[in-house]
């Protein structure tokens, strides 16, 4: 029973952590190498793609998606998609996809004359699912070693979440100690008493024989 409990809670918290890691914004220092658009036919990975630009038809099975190719300050490459989140989830309320693409194209640079940018995004890059993080905003920075800044928003959201969970947990424990545990104990006592009676009745039978 103990191991089932452990597996259950580890699974729950892994899902929660993955959810926040996917949804909360992160910042990369990158050099934009190319911007392009490509038609995407959404399949099994469609949950990891956002919607068509707000106002457009959302019922079609495929559409063109903007992409931003980059080389990160760390040295590896990263490809971002650039899509409206619109009024949907996650609540970034991003409507300026095309403007962002124009900014990204403007900040393109080569390795000879590098122009680094701080690119805020959410989401994951996964080669096995062909999914890409969604770029939110771009800001030119001085160089590859510039600091990413303190993620105040993430700190606030995670703190509020932990406080919320703690509040529920404390109330649950109090409720359990006051209502559930005494009831369970009473049931156990009842059972023990009945078993005692039953065994004495059995031994009584044996003695009669």
């Amino acid at each position: 029973m103990g191991i089932i409990k452990w597996v259950f809670w580890i699974t729950v918290w892994t899902v929660v952590a993955a959810f926040f890691h996917y949804t909360l914004p992160q910042t990369d220092i990158v050099r934009i190498t190319e911007t392009y658009e490509k038609r995407i036919d959404f399949g099994e990975n469609s949950i990891f793609w956002s919607n068509a630009d707000v106002g457009n038809n959302t019922t079609l099975g495929n559409r063109d998606v903007f992409f931003i190719q980059s080389r990160r300050a760390k040295g590896d490459v990263m490809v971002y998609r650039n899509e409206d989140t619109g009024w949907g989830w996650p609540p970034y309320f991003k409507f300026d996809t095309t403007n962002l693409q124009a900014e990204a194209a403007d900040l393109k640079s080569t390795s000879d004359t590098p122009q680094y940018v701080s690119l805020k995004h959410y989401g994951w890059r996964n080669e096995f699912l062909s999914i890409f993080p969604n770029a939110i905003s771009i800001r030119p920075v001085a160089g590859p070693d510039v600091s990413k800044g303190i993620p105040f928003l993430n700190i606030i959201i995670l703190t509020l979440f932990v406080a919320f969970i703690y509040a529920i947990w404390v109330r649950w424990r109090r409720f359990k100690a006051r209502r559930i545990d005494p009831t369970l104990e009473r049931i156990e006592d009842d059972l023990a008493e009945k078993q005692g009676r039953f065994s004495s009745w059995m031994s009584g039978l044996k003695n009669k024989r």
């Binding site: 919607n51 707000v54 106002g55 959302t58 619109g86 009024w87 949907g88 609540p91 970034y92 309320f93 991003k94 409507f95 300026d96 403007n99 939110i136 905003s137």
Partner: protein
């Protein structure tokens, strides 16, 4: 537009549940406090009319209207996020 409508309907439903819950909770707390005050006080009127008078005063108070923040704060937050994401 359908996506916006969806967001508005879902948020309005959730916020209304919170608003109603909070209103009832707050009124109950107020009632309890008024009873306590009556017990500690000189008891010039009977308990029921004292509590009724206090609750009437509470219904017109600023405190009661602050609960409307349940609607105002999220809308303000959304407007702020829209500005920061798209126009900043």
């Amino acid at each position: 537009m359908i996506a916006l409508l969806q967001l508005v309907v879902v948020c309005f439903t959730i916020l209304t549940v919170i608003y109603v819950g909070l209103s009832i909770y707050s009124r109950r707390i107020r009632r309890g406090k008024l009873r306590q005050k009556w017990r500690n006080g000189p008891r010039l009127v009977d308990l029921d009319s004292f509590v009724q008078r206090g609750l009437k005063k509470y219904d017109n108070s600023i405190r009661r209207k602050l609960i409307l923040g349940v609607y105002i704060v999220p809308v303000g937050l959304v407007v702020m996020i829209i500005y920061l994401t798209n126009f900043n």
